[in-house]
């Protein structure tokens, strides 16, 4: 355990949906499955319009080492394959499938045989599993580090630090046995000596449940984390659970850590049992514009519109709709956008909550510096971006360690002058990447 805990920003919890179990929604009329639902190269479509597909049929192949295959989430016919503009401004291909309403599983699906780490890595790769906590990093790539003998510590992320989101909470309560089974699989194939499960203290029932089911497992420690943000950020989680620091530009594997989200671990167990790839997601639907906040299990590719309709629709006219929670979520421009693998929430704000107060001058109060879990000084980035000379600008951004910023949003959240600090950092990062590419 570290001497002190990082990430001490008090954000509202608003975990309104933690009590009720998730509801399964019926098959929508169509699903839009994107080829880019993960970090890395987009999948390559392997079906064409008119093809018949089932639940779990592979429709896109991983196109590189850091990539992931995609699968149909409904049974029916491929309607068309067309380019799709993503909410981050990039675009990728979208496979649109018309559902026959039957949800027939692919008859060829069977549980994979896993006898060693190689089998596990290829099975996980085929499952289409990506980090379900939000980042969407292909899990097979993480597990691959085991083959290089790098891993001696597994960290399981049950922090769920974003406001509103409770889908991991429900996994820990309703699928505790799957979490245990998943951890046992990891224990069997990964040579880690210890497994730490970090859970924020605002979920005492999850801490109690997992402590209980792992009581007889000496390798596993359930670590209560402070109920402050961002406990679930990978580097902060590693620091606060096992006291290790991931150096600049390195991955958790470089300090011997394999980090997996608790829902990813539960999925791993389910997949080895049934062979059904990642085709559905438990998504928290909440926010001031939502009539009945709840968790919904929906096929991947369901439109936000249909998902919200299933929960009972809007309470008031929505002003802003987010993929994910309010601290790091991405705002969408239309409710036709589909649910992706790494989505764990849809938050819809009413008109009033859609806009932040107007921005004023920086008063140099230092709240952002105190809040930054990475120990950065956000005012330096803002100041550097005002420098005219581009080389000087890049040098200053690098000196202030811009690339360590993980865009968690703490600085902007606490700023009394509502400065767009995270937005500035995003612009600055784009500039640094462009400068790097030029070299």
């Amino acid at each position: 355990m570290p001497r002190f805990m990082l990430g001490r920003t008090h954000v509202p919890h608003r975990k309104n949906t933690a009590e009720a179990p998730a509801q399964r929604m019926p098959a929508p009329e169509q699903v839009v499955i994107l080829t880019s639902q993960h970090i890395g190269a987009p999948a390559t479509p392997i079906v064409k319009a008119g093809d018949t597909v089932y639940v779990g049929t592979k429709i896109g192949e991983a196109s590189g080492y850091v990539s992931s295959p995609i699968h149909s989430s409904v049974s029916g016919k491929v309607k068309k394959i067309e380019p799709h503009l993503l909410s981050n401004g990039r675009s990728c291909m979208a496979i649109i499938i018309e559902s026959d309403g039957q949800m027939t599983p692919d008859p060829e699906i069977k549980a994979p045989t896993v006898e060693n780490i190689d089998d596990l890595v290829s099975a996980v790769r085929e499952s289409g599993l990506v980090g379900l906590g939000g980042a969407g990093f292909p899990t097979a790539v993480k597990l691959d580090a085991e083959k290089k003998g790098l891993i001696d510590q597994i960290v399981i992320n049950g922090a769920e630090c974003e406001p509103y989101i409770t889908s991991d909470t429900l996994t820990m309560i309703a699928k505790a046995d799957k979490v245990k089974a998943g951890v046992e699989i990891l224990e069997k194939f990964i040579s880690a000596k210890n497994i730490a499960i970090g859970i924020e203290a605002n979920k005492p029932e999850c801490i109690a449940k997992l402590t209980e089911i792992f009581a007889d497992d000496d390798k596993v420690t359930v670590i209560p984390l402070p109920s402050t943000y961002p406990q679930g950020a990978e580097k902060i989680l590693i620091h606060n659970t096992v006291g290790r620091v991931v150096p600049e530009g390195k991955l958790p594997a470089d300090v011997g850590c394999l980090v997996m989200n608790v829902t990813s671990v539960a999925f791993l167990a389910e997949y080895l049992e049934t062979g059904m790839p990642l085709v559905e997601k438990c998504v928290t639907v909440d926010g001031s514009a939502i009539k009945n906040p709840m968790n919904v299990i929906c096929p991947i590719g369901t439109s936000i519109e249909k998902l919200i309709e299933f929960t009972g629709g809007f309470k008031s006219e929505p002003g802003k709709i987010l993929y994910g929670g309010p601290m790091m979520g991405i705002s969408v421009y239309t409710t036709e956008e589909p649910i992706m693998k790494n989505n764990n929430a849809i938050v819809a704000f009413n008109k009033k909550d859609a806009k932040l107060p107007p921005s004023r001058n920086c008063i140099h109060c230092g709240r952002c510096v105190a809040a930054c879990p990475m120990g950065l000084n956000p005012t330096l980035f803002a100041r550097a971006m005002k420098v005219e000379d581009s080389r000087e600008r890049v040098a200053r951004l690098n000196e202030a360690k811009l690339m360590l910023c993980m865009e968690c949003g703490c600085c902007s959240f606490v700023c009394p002058s509502v400065r767009p600090l995270v937005e500035t950092n995003r612009l600055a990062k784009a500039e640094l990447r462009a400068a790097q590419a030029k070299k």
Partner: protein, 312 residues
Amino acid sequence: MNKLVVSSSPHIHTAASTQRIMLDVLIALVPTAVAGTVIFGLRALLVILTCVATSVLAEFLFNLILKKGETISDLSAAVTGLILALNLRADAPIWQCIVGSVFAIVVVKCLFGGLGCNFANPAATARVFMLICFTGTLSGGMAPVITSSPELTSGATPLAVLKAGGELPSMLDMLLGLKGGAIGEVCGAAVIVGFIYLVIRKVIHFETPLIFVGTVFVLSLIVDNSFTVATYQVLSGGLIFAAVFMATDYVTTPITRTGKMIFAFGCGLITFLIRAFGSYPEGVSFAILLMNILSPYIEKWTAKRPLGGNAK
């Protein structure tokens, strides 16, 4: 489908605002302003109202003439005006109050880009400016209207008395403010009430004023070798007032917490040096001003090492 707002995360915000912070500072200054008015009479209130009104008006007109957006609603101009007023004698000529306020707002603050862009504390700079320009009418202090010792009518500040010799007010009078001095600096008790409020509201860290005042106290204890003199040093002049309300100004002090501590220590050191060896009886404003200049460097020296950051 209606139009959705698309913007960068985060999409929620804390309730804290610049306006609220400034309002908290104004609230914290109220006990001091009230004490000053009680001690020195309604003339003090006239100085306070003049400085606040002039400061706000100066910022409003500056923005209007230069076609900049309205900024007086952030309340920082009112804070500057009030702090400046509390740094002045209750019998300061009104026209000088106006000149000082305009100097603080226009020259020290607005010309550098407004709130957050000035490198020197507007009130401290204006006070020093006025002290140099209007030495005759502004140095020293007005005698209190109410007093516990009838012979104390000269209005000589305890610091001047300490330097020149003579009878000092009692310790209780020192704390309550029944002594000569500027409107806001005499009543230490009222300033401490404001200090506690600001710490509870988390507007300032408690250590900055304590280190500032503590440094002066300890140095005086060492050099003068007298507990009484050291206590008088602490309760004299604008020390407590400046330590609470001026050395804690966000804009002109280092952004890091350790930086703020070093800043406070430096202020205490310079204040003591000026008081002990300088020709001015009072050194607080000069000390703050000098440390303002060092702030960016202190900030750089005390920068936190980022988590996992490589050494440069």
